[in-house]
Amino acid sequence: MDDSSVSHHNGGQVGSEIGVSVNNKQNEESSQSVQYSIPGILHFIQHEWARFELERSQWEVDRAEFEARIAFLQGERKGQENLKNDLVRRIKMLEYALKQERGKFHKLKYGVELQQGDMRPPPEEPPVEPDPAERAQWKQGRQLIKQYLQEIGYTDTILDIRSNRVRTLLGVNNEEQSEESNYRNCDKHHYSTNTALGRKMMMYDYGGKDQQCKGAVSGGYNEEGLSVQENAVFANFEFLANQEMDMDEIEDIDAKQAHHTQMKQGEEVDHEAEEVLNELNLLTETEADGGGQGDEYVVKFPSGSSTSGPAGEADEKPLALGELAQLTVSNEPEAYDVAGASKESFRKTWNPKYTLRSHFDGVRAVAFHPNEAALVTASEDHTLKLWNLQRTVPAKKSAGLDVEPLYTFRAHSGPVLCLAMGAPRSEECFSAGKDGTIRVWNLPSATADPYDPYDAAVQGPVLRDHTDAIWSLASSHGRLLSASADGTARLWSPRAPRPLLATLRDDTTAGDPAAADFADAATRAAVAYNDGTLLLYDLETAQVVLRVSCSSPTTRVRSHPTLPVLVTAHEDRHIRFWDAVSGRCAHAMVAHLDAVTGLALDPNGLFLLSGSHDCSVRLWNLDTKTCVQEITAHRKKFDEGILDVAFHPVRPYIASAGADGLAKVFV
């Protein structure tokens, strides 16, 4: 073997030879035994020693590392526990503060003391009772806040008054009204962390609570109740943990702790827990806004306290209700979860916000501005109107938000039936109607006055090739697609010298075009006929490339913004989905109680909006094809209900247009 060669090469260096693999060891020993020498052995032993030492020190380092890690994790755990305790304490603080405030409010309102339980400290306190170290911390905190108070002009006397007040609240004695306002003042300071919103919330709750308070004589704190409360509190921990602790706030609360432990009120605990949670929600909401509000409130409130109770209440309550409404909205579970939750434009439910009244007859079409909060409506009263949703009518109108039209477009000599908005920044829109003309409009600026002088430049080119009513318009990339009862659909370049680009006609189809939309990145046109036929034209050749038919007249067609899918609305109450490649009917569903008249897809292609003569607007999840919301929006004129629906391309607005002459915008 090569043993010999190895040994020869290495000469007397035994150590390195030892390192040769184990299965050769026997041979080595026999072959090397003759070569042992004292220096060689010593060297080997030294070498081995050094190696073991090295390994040992490595292990030690590792061990130390792990120990450090363990210590770190333990510390972290402890920290978490402390945080948790802190938070629990904080919740209780708030709870007590609430009660205190409630008692005071009750007294102010009814002039009698709120009956309260014994003054014994809460039996439940121990779990959150701070250990001595924490107590020292509190002391420090208290010291600090005292310092703060002095800085802003609160002296010890006021602090004393404050503790007097606590006694007062506990029913120890009666006090004078003047003092009372003082108490209020300093109390307000302590509450500044709660912020105005939180306070209003509490005020609101008192309103509902007073009856209970009056009648119920407290039986002290109920142990079971408290645990319920705690459970509720703990349930909310995730939410709390995310929240950054504001040191000032904690100190403030700590300062209060002393008082809290002294007083107790008997109340329905479930409600309390609820309130605390609500309050915390409010806190998070308002903390985002910054603490400025709280200070403002302090300034404002003393004057309010000098007025009589009921009057103050009248002022407060509507506000409180408003905030409450906001609160419930924010607490609602998501009704539908959009894939991109980041996309702010999709919220759980749409609510009516604006009613656009100004048309004298049915509104046939509605289209949103490409980016502004503005829209155009087209009506059977021969006009179009431009609306700016951000310019609502001044306070002279009583009910909610009415919008007055910014501009009235007059040029059609018959009902306007359809509408298309131009590309972003083109500031143009197109309309067409029963008179067979397509008109291009230059949109007046969103700040125009409705009573400005007439500007003829608003009217753009007029396209007159159609010979009968035009029922549908679609615009894309500066081109316009129209569908007319004269049997043709036409493609236009509206501002070109010779605007007509192509005429799409199919002689084998018996019906007339009822609707049209661009498809496949505007290289094709989907034309729906009123005999149920759906044709896909290639816009280069003007030839039919796909033909599908169904039994029921089609009223609308829309192509999906991202997928090769065409959606059609039908007289027979159905909405049908077609594969734009194969022509297969991918899905058909009964969508309404009456003929479906309006279709709109949201810009991401996730939702479908439909309107019907049954006067309802429905929102569909395109993924599951389920209805996620229904809104009943309009009244019938003859047998017509809703005539069109629309999505705003970038903002969270949807709109419906009805035969009753109204358009409605939902947010």
Partner: protein, 224 residues
Amino acid sequence: MADGTQILRRNRPGSKAKDFCRWPDQPFEEMDNTLAVQQLIQQTIRRDPSNLEAILKMPEAQEEGVWKYEHLRQFCMELNGLTVRLQSECKPNTCTQMTATEQWIFLCAAHKTPKECPAIDYTRHTLDGAACLLNSNKYFPSRVSIRDSSVGKLGSVCRRVYRIFSHAYFHHRAIFDAFEKETHLCKRFTYFVTKYSIISKEILILPKLDDEVPINQPVGESEA
């Protein structure tokens, strides 16, 4: 348009212009929705726009306020047609003021302080203002019943609207005649304000139009 047993009074997408609103009349008693009065008025006008008696024959048990209100809405709406025609001829530089006869210059009431608007602006502003008022949620929250105080508002709208007719008559006679021939709108309006004494007779400065409009001429496309 009747399909089978049930008549659905609808304009379906894709239908021809001549079929627009071509459905059998519905008796007023059978109209059970909130827009019944508008439906009735439009239906009667469609049948024969020259038959003023029929158009302005108020159904029994109909609240007169609503009846007048709906008629005025219809007038303002149809006046859009006249305005469209005027826009092509009545320019701010030729008709700098809203006049009929030389006797009066009408100030436009749409502005905070009434203004001497050119005639076309006066026309547009008056119609826009009327649209606002007549659709105002404050004065006309319902189309089924209307407060007396709100009915009082109709008078001033009528007075201003009449000036549009008179301006067209005295300054754009060709347009006026063509429009009137098709719609009989001014005649109907005069009949309306006289019948319900909304405007005093002295203000009605146009000569009687009856002779100029052949009454039983077949009417082409006159839509609601």
